[in-house]
């Protein structure tokens, strides 16, 4: 008797799940055109993003141009961490690793806060026309191509360029900015600030515009001057925005814009300018050492991903602001 009862209960349960499946199926059929739209999109991500992730496996193999890509993935023998070890043991490891870290730390120290500072200064401007003009003009360099930016940098820092002309007025001797390795990072960072300070400030200006005016009124009643209003109202209000952007920035820590490096560096400045991504480009695209350069690239991606996740966790714990 009891087993019969159980059976019918199971049966009822089965019917329930069946109708649940049916409802799901019905929903999918109703939305078939949506899936049809998603098809090319998913195909794109599969082929151009997830296939390359599978392609990372060649970092643990000896890629051979004799075979096709998929044969290399599935049929060639594994070589373990050979390429990683040879990278870590090479002279280049120390150089490109530290160059990447240093250029990014400089970025974090100088390029990252610059737009925040600009936004705070613009926030204090009361003449709306002046403010709008400054905004329109400083956003512009963001849209200029990296090739043109590099061309401008080369021209301006050349021995007959405007920067050396100005330095000359102050009696400073000519500096070969792009030939002497000790100047590379300075040139890199200053041109980055020049290009992105305005554009980067938009997001902070938006956050500033969203601050409740009552907060300022309350601060004024408490006798706060403008400096005090800035430190006790403005800055706390934009802190969540700063944190989110900082997390994103840290997640990109090891990705130096390879475009700009490739355009500006030269053998005499490799000492300070050669970073992981430019090294991957040279070893992979020019010397065609595919497995080795994939291993170096993977090393870079793993650090990046770890940094992103830890920055996010850290922020979640201490400030309740996080990406996920």
């Amino acid at each position: 008797m009891s087993s019969l009862k159980n059976d019918s209960a199971v049966l009822a349960g089965k019917q329930r799940t069946d109708s649940k499946h049916q409802r799901l199926w019905l929903k999918i059929v109703q939305r078939r055109y949506i899936y049809l739209m998603l098809l090319p999109v998913l195909l794109y991500f599969l082929v151009f993003h997830y296939f390359p992730m599978i392609g990372i496996l060649i970092a643990f193999k000896d890629y051979s141009v004799k075979y096709t890509f998929w044969e290399n993935i599935f049929h060639t023998p594994w070589v373990g961490f050979k390429h990683f070890i040879s990278f870590f043991e090479s002279f280049y490891f120390q150089r490109v690793f530290w160059n990447t870290v240093i250029i990014n730390l400089y970025g974090l120290l100088f390029t990252f806060p610059a737009p925040i500072l600009l936004a705070l200064l613009l926030n204090e401007v009361k003449n709306m026309r002046f403010k709008k003009t400054v905004q329109s003009i400083t956003y512009m360099p963001h849209f200029i191509s990296m090739v043109v930016i590099a061309g401008l940098v080369i021209d301006f820092t050349s021995s007959t360029g405007v920067i050396n002309t100005i330095l000359n007025l102050f009696g400073v001797e000519k500096i070969q900015f792009l030939i002497e390795p000790e100047w590379f990072r300075t040139v890199y960072i200053i041109s980055a600030i020049w290009q992105e300070i305005g554009w980067g400030s938009i997001i902070y200006l938006a956050a500033l515009a969203g601050i409740d005016a009552e907060l300022y009124e309350a601060a004024v009643i408490d006798g706060a001057g403008r400096w005090k209003q800035m430190t006790s109202v403005t800055i706390p209000c934009i802190t969540p925005t700063i944190i989110i952007l900082l997390i994103l920035k840290i997640g990109q820590m090891m990705n130096v814009g390879v475009e700009k490096i490739l355009l500006l560096y030269r053998p005499t400045t490799y000492e300070t300018a050669d970073v992981i991504s430019s090294y991957v480009y040279r070893r992979g695209m020019i010397e065609m050492q595919y497995s080795f350069s994939t291993a170096v690239g993977l090393f870079n991606s793993i650090i990046n991903f770890t940094l992103l996740v830890s920055a996010n966790q850290f922020s979640k714990k201490f400030s309740e602001t996080s990406l996920w």
Partner: protein, 293 residues
């Protein structure tokens, strides 16, 4: 906006410094543009003497521009870039609209999983070499498609579009459904007309990206007839620099030196022409992206 209390002397000093600093910033941003324009219109020998300091043309001439438009490779590059911008952006928009609309609907089973799959690619990538090898094995190496297809969707732009579609009231869709319209009809007849402003934003984003991109062409294109303007520009701007320094006294070479300023102008003017629109729409795009990003 900070409230005004009393303008104490220290605040006045701050205001003056602030205006001066911001004006200097504007000057520093504009100067390279003014200099390049002035130099491209000047006599090359005057440019040599100027030491990088020039606010208006000296010894006005248009010969360098004639040289630019006589240079076959610049014209080929221009033509190719226009092709990449038009075809590339069209493909970008079709796929981005499909993806964004589909992922903005509420009752689509599996939607969140798909979104996760897509967003994951923002944070982790296969890397330059595996991507190159995949594209080569697909047979699009040294082909126009190589600088278009692998860049067909930007996740960031997809999110901007999706946010826009999410904000369109569901009631519009529901009433169309009662009239028997399917999702394709709804997308093309109702959603796209409503989304024109945000399509413009995203389209401009993609267009500028195609116009300015050079890395992808550097990696994937070998045939000079396929080169976009940026690659040609790079050859003119960067590769002659050492020779340029050596033979700076040679007059014909001086013209070639001047050529780079004119080429910069020719390559950047289209961007600056759409800039007023960019500025208006792009700022909006950054905001939307910021909310959901």
């Amino acid at each position: 906006m900070a409230m005004v209390t009393k303008a104490t002397p220290s605040q006045k000093i701050f205001d003056v410094c602030n205006y001066v600093f911001l004006s200097l910033l504007v000057l520093m941003t504009l100067y390279p543009c003014i200099y390049v324009l002035a130099a491209s219109l000047s006599d090359p020998n005057e440019v040599m003497k100027a030491g990088g300091f020039m606010l208006w043309p000296k010894g006005f001439q248009l010969d360098t521009y004639k040289l630019v438009f006589k240079n076959r490779m610049i014209l080929v590059g221009y033509k190719n870039t226009i092709f990449y911008v038009v075809v590339g952006t069209s493909i970008n928009l079709i796929l981005t609209i499909f993806g964004a609309y589909a992922l903005s609907r509420n009752d689509v089973p599996g939607k969140n999983a798909i979104m996760m799959i897509i967003i994951f690619t923002m944070f982790f990538r296969g890397g330059m070499i595996p991507e190159f090898l995949i594209n080569k094995s697909l047979g699009i190496y040294d082909n126009r498609l190589a600088v278009i297809l692998p860049y067909a969707i930007s996740v960031y732009n997809l999110i901007i579009m999706r946010t826009f579609f999410q904000n369109i009231p569901v009631s519009l869709e529901e009433s169309a459904k009662i009239d028997g319209a399917n999702d394709f009809t709804i997308l093309f007849k109702i959603m796209i007309p409503l989304a024109i402003p945000s399509i413009a934003v995203v389209g401009l984003y993609y267009g500028v990206e195609h116009w300015n991109s050079y890395m992808r062409s550097l990696i994937y294109l070998r045939n000079r007839e396929l080169f976009p303007l940026q690659i040609i520009l790079r050859e003119i701007l960067l590769q002659n620099q050492n020779e340029a320094l050596q033979s700076a006294t040679d007059t014909t070479f001086a013209y070639a030196e001047n050529l780079k300023y004119a080429t910069i102008v020719v390559a950047t003017v289209p961007i600056l022409c759409v800039y007023p629109f960019l500025q208006k729409f792009f700022v909006k795009g950054v905001m939307i992206g910021a909310v959901k990003g």
